[in-house]
Amino acid sequence: MRRLAAAGAAVALAYVGAVLATAHFTNRTVRPLFDAVGPPPVYRWVKPPPDFAAGNIKPKSTEVVFGLAPDALPPAGASEDSQFVFNLPKGSIAPHEGDGQGVARVEPADPDSLGALPAKQFADGNAYKLTLRYETTATPAPVTLPGSVLLTVPVPAEGIVYSEDGKTWRAVKSQHASATAVGGELPGAGYYLAVTPDVISPSGNSGAGRLLLPIGFTVFVAAGLVITPLLLRRGRTPKTRQARRQAARGR
């Protein structure tokens, strides 16, 4: 399992490295991926929008064990469905007395159950809670060197936000990896969430809602056509009426 996770993590790391390096050296956004004729990507939602609820497979939590010895592979892992992939550099988790291994737990979460996002940003898929602990003593394992994270997203993402406690968020340095993936920095344990400027709500504006504005305006204009002459008539001063009567008599 560890070897498998390490291999997967190495591939993911190489991919993110290639993206960042190519973007850096060519000064343009790239997607070093080969497209294929295949089924559309299926996102696994913790809480799916109504139109994607049918057939949704809820993502599960996963745990990955990593070694702490100097010759151990660096900590890395992914959620069961690979929608969340993380890598930490070697030596990023300090050895701990009484512990030979550490455990990383990846837990998908509903973003609505967490703190409010920054203005004009909306959740792009699930949030993921990454917990790092020492295996035997079960004490939290702090991260001393930042790593990287890759999130699969249902709609193209603007970036990644991070929260230590699930209440307040801050943006982390991120890279748009592809239409359905975004990579970024991993400062430590906590919550990670991709964000987009557009709210994902497939119900959209209803046709009735779209009709309200023109209907309202038409009613306003019609009312104006009826009310304006009445107001004008009421606005006539007695003096004016009297003057007109006199003028009529004088004709």
């Binding site: 497209d35 559309p40 139109d51 709210v199 994902i200 959209g204 504006n205 056509l225």
Partner: protein, 407 residues
């Protein structure tokens, strides 16, 4: 008093008329919503290019009712992104939108278009769109229906290869909108012909075990097999069924796999003799079988596509071009607006015979109330065969055939 009243009425009337849609004047804006990035991006880009060229052809002929067409585009790489992509197109002034190449994106777009009271024309995806109240109102399909591709495949093998011989069919399919729509058509056609169904074999493309599926198919002892797969699973299933030693009289697939050039490249000689029920591409449409207007459009677009994109016009590109041309050159001049009610009314009136469009299709959108409301009953599909390693040709119907059947 009378003068003030008149001025007030005139001002209000002017205000009211100033609120007429900007769409009624100046360029007519149409949208293109395709996946142009991500795993669906290659075919999405090609289909969108087709729509772009249809816009250019109509503009080169004077536009619609004297108004130029303006195409605005939005990327929708996943079903979840369809709504926001559609909202972007609306923001750019589009009330009529072409899309979307993928059945999953198509279904999501159809929901969003219905909710926003827009008109959505599907130019490529074949999967069933079961969106209540959309078909024939806000959703129209110009491409062949998936079910019809399935029916055509069964019909071709039964009538052309083994006439009068009852066959026992296995139907294997990707268990999603596209795969199910095509497979359902195939199964219905087997039943309609009184044939025997050895079995239906649905599989999850994301957890696909080709050996297990092939073993289950072999155990059902079919004479012939129909497959609606994507490329990778289609290739894997073909290899697995061949390795299982299963002897089939005929094997026919459909779009996204068996007719795709990459399918032939992957299987080489192993693909020879396999058939596919799908849309034609530009290189394999016989211009002499088309009506004059369809032929003229095909002859206009092939060299332009090649010179601009440095490749032959693929099936998705031709599908996008033909579908959009049907709407822009024939339906919009009747509607004279992209206003959904007028487009809907025009859709009920306009009829083009088969061969009028450059992919061999006509235009006959099924009316409201019909089971297939909004679907193009005159959409053409063809039967391909891999006639040599890496070489495919249209073998049926005869009017469009570029090769004899070689199996």
């Amino acid at each position: 008093m009378r003068r003030r009243f008149t001025v007030a009425v005139v001002l209000l009337a002017a205000l009211a008329t100033s609120c007429a849609r900007a769409d009624d004047h100046g360029p007519m804006t149409v949208g293109a919503l395709y996946p142009t990035t991500g795993t669906l991006g290659v075919a999405g880009v090609e289909e969108q290019r087709g729509v772009q060229l249809a816009v250019e052809l109509v503009n080169s002929n004077g536009g619609v009712d004297g108004r130029r067409l303006r195409l605005v585009t939005a990327d929708s790489p996943t079903p979840e992104s369809a709504r926001t992509a559609l909202a972007r197109l609306v923001g750019k002034g589009a009330r009529l939108v072409f899309g979307s190449q993928s059945s999953a994106v198509s279904a999501a777009t159809a929901v969003a278009a219905r909710n926003q009271s827009l008109t959505f024309f599907e130019t490529g995806a074949v999967g069933t769109v079961a969106v209540p109240g959309a078909g024939g109102r806000t959703f129209f399909r110009l491409a062949p229906m998936g079910a019809n591709l399935g029916r055509a495949g069964i019909g071709f093998v039964s009538d052309q290869l083994y006439p009068g011989r009852p066959l026992r069919w296995a139907v294997a399919y990707a268990d999603d909108l596209y795969g199910t729509a095509v497979a359902d058509g195939a199964v219905a056609e087997v039943a309609r012909r009184g044939g025997a169904l050895a079995g239906k074999f649905a599989y999850d493309t994301h957890h696909f075990d080709p050996q297990a599926v092939a073993a289950a198919i072999a155990a059902s002892k079919p004479d012939a097999m129909f497959v609606s797969a994507y490329l990778d699973d289609g290739v894997a299933l073909r290899r697995a069924t061949a390795a299982s030693g299963m002897k089939l009289l005929a094997e026919i697939g459909t779009s996204s796999s068996y007719c795709h050039p990459a399918f032939g490249r992957a299987l080489g000689a192993e693909a020879v003799g396999l058939f596919a029920s799908d849309k034609p591409d530009a290189a394999d449409v016989r211009a002499d079988a088309l009506a004059p207007e369809g032929r003229a459009a095909l002859e206009w677009v092939i060299p332009r596509y090649k010179s601009r994109y440095h490749e032959d016009m693929s099936a998705p590109a031709l599908s996008g071009f033909s579908g959009a041309l049907g709407v822009l050159a024939h339906l919009l001049p009747v509607a004279r607006s992209t206003s959904p009610p007028r487009v809907r009314a025009a859709a009920a009136k306009v009829r083009l015979g088969e061969g009028s469009l450059p992919n061999g299709s006509g235009l006959a959108l099924a009316p409201l109330g019909a089971a297939d409301a909004g679907d193009n009953r005159a959409a053409t599909s063809v039967i391909w065969e891999w006639v040599a390693p890496g070489v495919r040709a249209v073998v049926w119907p005869q009017a469009y055939a570029t090769s004899q059947i070689v199996r």
